[in-house]
Amino acid sequence: MIRAARLLASLSLVFVALASLPARAIDIQQITSPGGIKAWLVEDHSIPFTALSLMFKGGASLDAPGKRGEISLMTALLEEGSGGMDSVRYAEAVEGLGAQSRFDVSDDALSVSARMLTENRDQAADLLRQALTEPRFDPEAVERVRAQLQSVIRSEATDPNAIATTELARQAWGAHPYASSINGTAESVAALSRDDLIDAKGRVLARDRVYVAASGDITAEELGKLVDKILGGLPEQGSAPLPPPAELQLKGGITVVDWDSPQTVVTFAQPGLPMSDPDYFAAFVADHILGGGGFSSRLMDQIREKRGLTYGVGTGLSNGLYGQTWQGGMASANDKVAEAVGLIRSEWDRFAEGGVTEKELTDAKTYLTGEYPLRFDGNGKIAAILAGMQLIGLPADYVNTRNPRIEAVTAADVQRVAKRLLHSDQIRFVLVGRPQGIAGTD
């Protein structure tokens, strides 16, 4: 089933040639393949390749109990041999086509990003199908990649940024998978068997949890066939239920992790709000003014520009599929970090009490609405954005409704959501370093 949007796509290309319009709409075709798989497409035939993005919902949060790291290890093994090919022959075949594919996994999704030349797209798709449906998990490859994952785990344990985020997640998310690293521990990864990997694949690589988007030199009809070829052989349903919501258990205060370094790495978080909250966009605008907006944010102005206490400080609404926080981070010299943390708290309070000026509000809205269309400037970026939108449940016309919702935010909205959500006594700071003049609270 192909919707009529294709006609619009070719019309808008004519406009492109005629005039430089400031805001051209992006034309998303929503298709259903002959085999019943839904996909979003932006057609653009100017460069002879297709970018394809697949996202499998649940990601590493679908690890079986006690098997932390299994989906991470399984994902890394998808390109290490499948069908009749061992890892070397598979890689030779992909390289011989000039195709590219990346397999990544996060808390929320297993993602495949592929680029396929038009001249050999079907062959490239065959290899991708083979990787997703017939991975071999050869013992040699499993041991080699397991050792690489163990090395990543060792690196995380000596990286102050990873130590800080891991500790914050541990305090925030209780028994939910969000509470620990997707890569597992030395022990959990050492114990994984080939059967565990086969089970892990069944938990996440299934058609009931995949979202598909493509952009580039491909028609809707061609994409339908391509998607059926790549995904048609996957099981209809994943073997595990999707992850449950995570309940935030973070308590305000300070945690210090001793680390011999001239600087203290700071990660902090407090409760956030879901995208479905009526005040989400007001909070989104508030965050930009408070700490999300780079050099125009209040935190950057106070902590970097005015006092030189850090190279960078920032905040963001961190909205996962299964839980959300309002969080931030910075690094500051051990003898200055106490002052910088104090400034974060006082800016938090000033925002909650005083709200924002009309100029701050206007500037934030112009940035947030102006920046949005700039993201869609390439096939690879478009495919990733479109798959991500489906993953988090946004409709295709979100690309048109998003900016009006930001425009509608008023200073009173920002003030209300700030008063409701921003509480400096609810922030948990995790400090990794040898900070002076500031100590752990519990």
Binding site: P48, A51, E95, P160, T166, S261, Q263, G308, T362, E371
Partner: protein
């Protein structure tokens, strides 16, 4: 490295980019030079209403005087502190308030500033960027706080990371005489002594249209970009004496060097080896192309490359890498690195690397592997069209280190034309060369840098 980045008659300008030269340009690329010496490249991509402006100055940390290391990068930060017309930080705030983003970065050979913004705001950012090319004002109140910021940047990027510290020291050992021996961000004691006067002197000596490259990429026509360039940059006078001076060159290096450091923050041993290598030069990029292909053949694939097959698939190493970037003014380095597999001694891993390299020197490239690498080079050329920003970077970097637009245009063809004999010669050049530094960065056995008890429970057991 900043962020977490007199109008002549139109005929004169036209004459500088006559029709035959244009005919050889790749589709959508145009090139012109203003009478004041500003060289410009326009890369058209009308798929999205976005444009990137980049200004690259042909000046970098390798042009600094001894004792003033870090001044090129410090000035890059101070370039955001305003002009006669713009207050401190106002440029970035204006870009942001118009829905764009901006940043800057400094390297050994260049300092670059860019904005990415909706195409209809291009005149605004060209107005502001041209303003700070000639009218920078550094307030008495701003320079000390910004010096603290660059010191914090050094702490974050270098001093908190033993790998970055080790690279810095390895560079200092690699180059006897070239200023590439100094870190771009500067040595800390010298950074602490940099002043506003140093910054102003650097700016006045080196920031001029005749030593800059303007790149406009995205949803703009060549004619429009040129008209805007003439309007905003055309009136800025050239500075005849600002051109960069030749730098001290490396003498012959006869002694391979070894360095070693242990640090409790290092999770596992890492071997790095760098060796002096030639760079890309105008009309002379063949050796550099062969070195680029050599790096791909040696370690470009985790499964099929020479070192992956000989070291990783055989269980001797966890990771291997080979790197080469020829976009430098003076001779650069070719790099190799590996992480030994658990249970393999550092000496055995290094011996296995040496044996694999000797075998490659003897056998030369495998024809089938070379063919696959060539296929990927052809594909990359197509994929590269997807990013106007990426292509802007290619031209800006190339022109700022002294290549011509033709050199940048020709690079993919030169890569595609590399022969097995070229690769053998390139391998001989860098793999049997005493101008090398081999470094081992090692963990400190039994010593975690923090109090292990304070680490998160899930992490404690993982420290080795």
């Amino acid at each position: 490295m900043r962020r977490p980045h007199r109008l002549a008659p139109a005929l004169t300008a036209l004459a500088l980019s006559a029709a035959p030269a244009l005919a050889e340009m790749p589709q959508g690329i145009s090139h012109f030079t203003l009478p004041n010496g500003l060289e410009a490249v326009v890369i058209e991509d009308h798929r999205a209403p976005v444009v990137v402006q980049m200004v690259w100055y042909r000046i970098g940390s390798a042009d600094e005087q001894p004792g003033k290391s870090g001044i090129a990068h410090y000035l890059e930060h101070l370039m955001f502190k305003g002009t006669d017309r713009l207050g401190p930080g106002e440029l970035s705030k204006t870009v942001t308030a118009n829905g764009g983003m901006d940043n800057a970065f400094t390297s050994y050979d260049y300092t670059a500033y860019f904005q990415r913004i909706a195409a209809d705001r291009l005149p605004l950012v060209m107005d502001m960027e041209s303003d700070r090319m000639a009218n920078l004002k550094i307030g008495e109140d701003d320079w000390k706080a910004e010096r603290q910021v660059v010191l914090e940047e050094r702490s974050q990027r270098t001093d908190s990371d033993p790998g970055a510290q080790f690279s810095e020291e390895r560079n200092a050992v690699q180059f006897y005489n070239s200023p590439y021996r100094r870190p771009v961000i500067g040595w800390r004691p010298e950074m602490e002594g940099l002043t506003r006067d140093d910054a102003i002197a650097w700016y006045q000596a080196h920031y001029a249209p005749n030593d800059a490259v303007l790149v406009i990429a995205g949803d703009v026509t060549a004619d429009k970009a040129r008209a805007l360039a003439e309007k905003y940059y055309g009136p800025i006078p050239a500075k005849p004496d600002s051109t960069r001076k030749p730098r001290p060159q490396e003498p012959e290096q006869r002694a391979p060097r070894r360095i070693e450091r242990s640090d409790p923050r290092v999770p596992q041993p890492v071997l790095t080896r760098t060796v002096l290598a030639p760079e890309r030069n105008p009309g002379d990029q063949k050796t550099a192309a062969a070195l680029s292909v050599l790096a791909e053949l040696l370690a470009g694939s985790a499964q099929t490359s020479v070192l992956a097959r000989d070291l990783v698939l055989t269980g001797k190493a966890l990771y291997v890498d080979a790197s080469y970037d020829g976009l430098t003014v003076d001779p650069t380095t070719f790099g190799l690195s590996l992480v030994p597999a658990p249970g393999v001694s550092n000496a055995d891993a290094e011996a296995a690397l040496d044996a694999a390299l000797q075998k490659f020197l003897k056998d030369g490239p495998d024809p089938a592997q070379l063919e696959r690498v060539k296929t990927q080079i052809r594909a990359d050329r197509i994929y590269a069209q997807d990013s106007a920003h990426g292509r802007a970077y290619d031209y800006g970097q190339g022109l700022s280190i002294g290549l011509t637009v033709e050199d940048v245009n020709d690079w993919p063809d030169i890569l595609a034309a590399v022969t097995p004999d070229d690769i053998r010669a390139a391998a001989k050049l860098v793999l049997s060369n005493p101008a090398s530094v081999t470094g081992w960065l090692l963990p400190q056995p039994g010593a975690a840098p923090g109090d292990a008890q304070a680490l998160p429970a899930a992490q404690t057991g993982e420290i080795q």
